[in-house]
């Protein structure tokens, strides 16, 4: 429970560093909580970190696209802080530590894990972006004028 509240605090505070509009703060905090909930659930049911990160990032990005249209704000306002609690900080740190103490094989293993998680995060963003572009765009933004 405390972890969920802390992830909301971390997300909102990170968003303030990017100067997001005040009326987005509540939604951004909820996004951070959703992301952390997914990671906690994944840990509980022993789902792999990369798979969990992918699902969490996909859900957060889709919610960001939806919120952006409801609140009429750029998607980045929601997506950037929303995925921050999913960043594989511990893995990246462990990999750097292994390399520094000459445990190269261990470092490669954790490093690969880090890259996989980061890739999963990015894929979630990509797929949500594609879905949003093909499903929602024409209705809200009107037809594109200059591009065929």
């Amino acid at each position: 429970m405390i972890i969920i509240v802390l992830s909301m605090v971390a997300t909102v505070a990170f968003a303030i560093l990017y100067q997001i509009p005040a009326r987005a703060i509540v939604s951004v905090g909820c996004l951070g909580a959703v992301a952390e909930l997914f990671m906690l659930a994944a840990a509980h049911y022993h789902v792999g970190l990369a798979a969990a990160s992918f699902v969490a990032s996909l859900v957060v990005s889709l919610l960001s696209e939806a919120l952006a249209r409801v609140q009429r704000m750029p998607v980045t306002v929601f997506a950037v802080p929303g995925i921050i609690v999913l960043v594989p900080g511990m893995e990246a740190y462990a990999a750097m530590k292994d390399f520094v103490v000459h445990q190269y094989v261990l470092g490669l293993a954790t490093g690969t894990q880090t890259v996989l998680i980061a890739g999963a995060l990015a894929s979630g963003l990509v797929i949500a972006g594609i879905l949003a572009r093909s499903v929602w765009r024409p209705r809200i933004h009107g037809p594109e004028q200059t591009r065929g």
Partner: protein, 254 residues
């Protein structure tokens, strides 16, 4: 319809949007919307936006006028301003603003103060770093060290980006935050220097660069997408080097 004025409006909005952290695809789209809102024929205004420059050209019966602006200098990320310019372009397109009014409003957005004053941002850096430290497995007392490290990192980048390239600023800021954690460990104040380091570097993470890069690539802006991606990778590498240095010196401090 005044050609000069339309191009001027598009350029002003585009530059400001790019400086505040808007994706290049958003800048191109905003320029197209604003041009139509200002009375240009659809498709007569074309733009090509890269992270460091904007080309806008307008074609009428009398010929083609082209403007080019170089966008450089440190970015002042401000998603509130991005949102306001977005609103402005939408209103202009609906006809709620005239071109002159839009230019005045744009000026107001550009010269206006940041959404949150400096002390709130300092507090936010400390709060996000401290919270992240605990999420990453630190003890409640480690909150303080994480918060201090994050504050330090945030202030150092903010100050150094005025004088040095961003990568260098991030490198030194991450080094300061990580060294603080290592010193706390050496003094026996904490057992989770890893969690503190991760918390401290949180404000430096290139979150916006990654997101913008992906969104630009999806929109077909390949040059901008790759350039932003490179920026994100360089920033991440700078952080990694700083953390490696801090871990490397830690045994020699004891």
């Amino acid at each position: 319809m005044d050609e000069e004025q339309i191009l001027h409006l598009c350029m002003q909005a585009g530059c400001l949007l790019l400086r505040c952290g808007g994706e290049t695809s958003r800048v191109e789209q905003t320029i197209a919307h604003m041009a139509i809102g200002a009375g240009a024929a659809p498709g007569s205004v074309q733009s090509f936006v890269t992270p460091t420059g904007i080309f806008v050209s307008m074609t009428t019966e009398t010929g083609t006028t082209t403007r080019l602006t170089r966008v450089s200098g440190p970015a002042r990320l401000d998603l509130s301003k991005v949102t306001r310019i977005n609103d402005l372009s939408r209103r202009l397109k609906w006809g709620a603003y005239t071109v002159t009014e839009a230019l005045t409003e744009l000026d107001r957005i550009e010269t206006g103060p940041p959404r949150y004053p400096h002390w709130i941002r300092m507090l936010a850096a400390a709060a996000s770093s401290g919270s992240f430290t605990i999420i990453m497995g630190g003890y409640p007392t480690d909150f303080l060290f994480g918060a201090a490290g994050g504050l330090l990192a945030q202030e150092i980048t903010g100050w150094l980006t005025q004088y040095a390239p961003r990568f260098f600023a991030v490198l030194l800021a991450a080094l300061a935050g990580a060294l603080l954690a290592v010193v706390a460990r050496v003094c026996g104040l904490t057992r989770h220097e890893g969690a503190i380091i991760i918390g401290a570097i949180l404000p430096l993470l290139p979150g916006l660069a990654v997101t913008n890069s992906i969104r630009d690539l999806l929109a077909g802006d390949l040059i901008a997408g790759v350039a932003r991606g490179a920026e994100a990778i360089f920033t991440a590498a700078a952080i990694a080097v700083a953390v490696a240095v801090a871990i490397g010196v830690s045994p020699h401090l004891a």
